[in-house]
């Protein structure tokens, strides 16, 4: 156990209350930055993909984790981000401009939808956003001159100051670009959560009446959260478009929305690192399963590839296992590991035993 004496409020206000945590983050960033020198194309591309999913996950996390609003339509914001960015670049805007504008457009769109949607909560909001998603999907098909309609479009290649950032031609550069974006957004997100705005999000999530009684404008707060959420998701969408290189409306399917929900819930609702853990799970575990499947075939001669859908099934079973074993998400497990480590060797197994819990209706809020 560490004992810390504090002589000012600053350590509590700072992002990291201990220097060693700051160093930990710096080290992590350094390793991430050096990744292109450490691993091959396959792993680097996967890492890039995971970063993009983590970014989208952070977008949804603001909404689901921090204001308690559920969206089944976040794929729509990915789409808006991707198409806006591509369209602007196609008319000659530089990436450095089109990219933030793509996020902004998605964000403003989200905030506009949020205004009528804020009266809804939970499942009702989820269905309303699903409806919005379907309508956006139709719009994408209808706006064929910009979106390529059903046929889809190829993402323009990124060039900043004469340096290529194309995912296929210059994967290293594209990876660094994603890393910078993700790092900046994470920093901003963490800032948000230690500031009054972030606290008002949490307030709205946990008790609407109290929030109002404290002078928080619930409608405005929710719309803001929705806007920020869709904005960040839009940024992720733009990157995803560049990452895949070709897309039509089928890229942004309901399954993407559902996968995003998996990212935030399995990762750990309400924790920024949860978005990363969730993204790693959703992108990494299926790959791991298929690599294991291949090696079972190569080394043991067991051909599991012959069973259709087995990979997905195994992944689903892993999800089920996770949820049963750790309903609060991966980040919850991580926290427990940390406590265990800090108390070592004093921690007892039963310290983490779950006590029985009971639910109450969420229809009264």
């Amino acid at each position: 156990m560490r004992v810390v004496f504090k002589t000012s409020y600053d350590p509590d206000i700072d992002l990291h209350d201990h220097a060693w945590k700051r160093w930990g983050i710096a080290l992590l960033l350094a390793v991430m930055a050096a990744l292109p020198f450490l691993v091959g194309d396959y792993y680097l591309a996967e890492a890039t993909n995971t970063l993009i999913w983590a970014l989208a996950g952070m977008g949804l996390m603001v909404l689901v984790g921090h204001t308690g609003q559920v969206s089944l339509g976040h794929a729509a914001f990915l789409a808006i981000g991707a198409y806006t960015d591509a369209a602007l670049m196609n008319i000659g805007w530089p990436f450095l401009l089109s990219f933030p504008v793509a996020g902004l457009v998605a964000g403003v769109f989200g905030a506009i939808i949020a205004v009528p949607a804020v009266r809804m909560s939970g499942i009702y909001l989820a269905i309303a956003t699903l409806a919005v998603f379907v309508i956006v999907e139709e719009m994408v098909i209808l706006l064929a001159p910009i979106t390529g309609g059903i046929g889809g479009i190829f993402a323009p290649t990124i060039e900043i100051a004469g340096i290529g950032f194309d995912r296929y031609a210059a994967l290293d550069n594209f990876y660094w670009l994603c890393l910078v974006v993700v790092a900046l957004v994470t920093w901003g997100y963490a800032n948000l959560m230690r500031s009054p705005t972030g606290r008002s999000f949490l307030a709205v999530r946990d008790s609407e009446v109290s929030a109002r009684a404290l002078g928080i404008n619930v409608t405005r707060t929710r719309a803001l959260a929705f806007g920020l959420s869709s904005g960040v998701t839009g940024l992720a969408g733009a990157l995803m478009g560049h990452y895949i290189g070709f897309f039509n409306y089928e890229l942004f399917s309901i399954f993407i929305s559902i996968n995003l929900l998996l990212v935030v819930t399995i990762g750990g609702l309400g924790f920024i690192p949860g978005a990363f853990l969730g993204a790693i799970l959703i992108t990494g575990v299926p790959q791991l399963i298929s690599i294991l499947r291949d090696s079972a075939n190569a080394t043991l001669g067991i051909d599991l590839g012959g069973i259709p859908g087995l990979d997905t099934m195994v992944f689903s079973l892993i999800l089920i296992g996770f949820i049963i074993y750790e309903p609060t998400g991966l980040y919850g497990r991580w926290l427990k590991l940390r406590v265990w480590w800090e108390l070592f060797p004093l921690a007892r197994r039963d310290m983490f035993r779950r006590q029985k819990t009971y639910l109450k209706t969420e229809r009264m809020r």
């Binding site: 035993r353 006590q355 029985k356 209706t361 229809r363 009264m364």
Partner: protein, 253 residues
């Protein structure tokens, strides 16, 4: 043999140990009260007895049969009913439905009991069709107590029954407790902040502090204890405290 025996029970919330080896006995036909400061673990004890929480260690026996680790609904079927802290009514069900559910474990009609509860709390009869979630705090408390009565239990656990009730109703509740005990022989285990009325009504009492029983005895003895008077009855030295706001240390710590 006691109706309820709690032996050496330890209950945790994750890593937090809320009960540190609690043992109590409740004899058939008794009213027993548990006193204790905020966070002492009274609610935890009640929930553990009712099966709502799993103890890590220890045994609980009810009427000679062990009930440790049973599902709460099985425990209720054995004749033990809990009026929980903080009302816990079914907000979207009507007052009458709430009461009817109180008799869930019982076979046959319960019109009589319904009438009895309504006679105790006429306001509930007036509001029998209203959704329970929109009753006032005190009305919900009455409903929770009424619901507990509907089960016609052998042992009733009451967790702060007077919470949010007017002084008049607090007196009435304790009168009802005493009457049920005297007339129908219902055994009562009551957690109450209003130690004064609790100790007047009860036969026996325990004092629970930070998860341990620190004092036990019949109501008379407890009422005369200095510590109890100081901390739970607020009698002695009120004036002095008022001026100095100085707190005496509890001697059992």
């Amino acid at each position: 043999m006691s109706l309820l025996e709690v032996r050496n029970v330890e209950t945790f919330y994750g890593a937090i140990m809320a009960l540190r080896g609690v043992s109590i006995d409740v004899e058939e036909g008794e009213i027993v009260t548990i006193l204790g400061a905020n966070g002492a673990g009274k609610t935890t004890l009640m929930k553990t007895i009712a099966g709502l929480m799993d103890p890590e260690k220890g045994q609980i026996t009810f009427d000679g049969t062990p009930i440790t680790g049973l599902e709460p609904d099985r425990i209720v079927q054995k004749g033990l009913s809990l009026v929980p802290e903080g009302r816990e009514v079914f907000p979207y069900l009507s007052v009458e439905e709430n009461l009817r559910l109180g008799a869930y474990t019982r076979k046959g009609g319960h019109a009589e009991d319904l009438a009895l509860v309504y006679s105790y709390f006429p306001i509930l009869k007036e509001r029998q069709r209203q959704a329970a979630g929109f009753l006032s705090g005190g009305q919900q408390q009455m409903l929770a107590i009424g619901r507990g009565l509907m089960a016609r239990p052998r042992l009733m656990l009451l967790d702060e029954p007077s919470l949010g009730l007017s002084p008049l109703l607090t007196q009435e509740i304790f009168a009802i407790i005493a009457r049920l005990n005297a007339e129908q022989g219902v055994t009562m285990l009551v957690v109450e902040q209003n130690a004064h009325i609790a100790l007047v009504t009860a036969h026996k009492g325990y004092v629970l502090e930070t998860g341990r029983i620190v004092m036990a005895g019949d109501a008379e003895t407890l009422r005369n204890s200095e510590d109890i008077q100081e901390f739970y009855l607020g009698k002695s030295e009120a004036g002095q405290r008022g001026q100095k706001r100085w707190k005496r240390r509890k001697t059992w710590r």
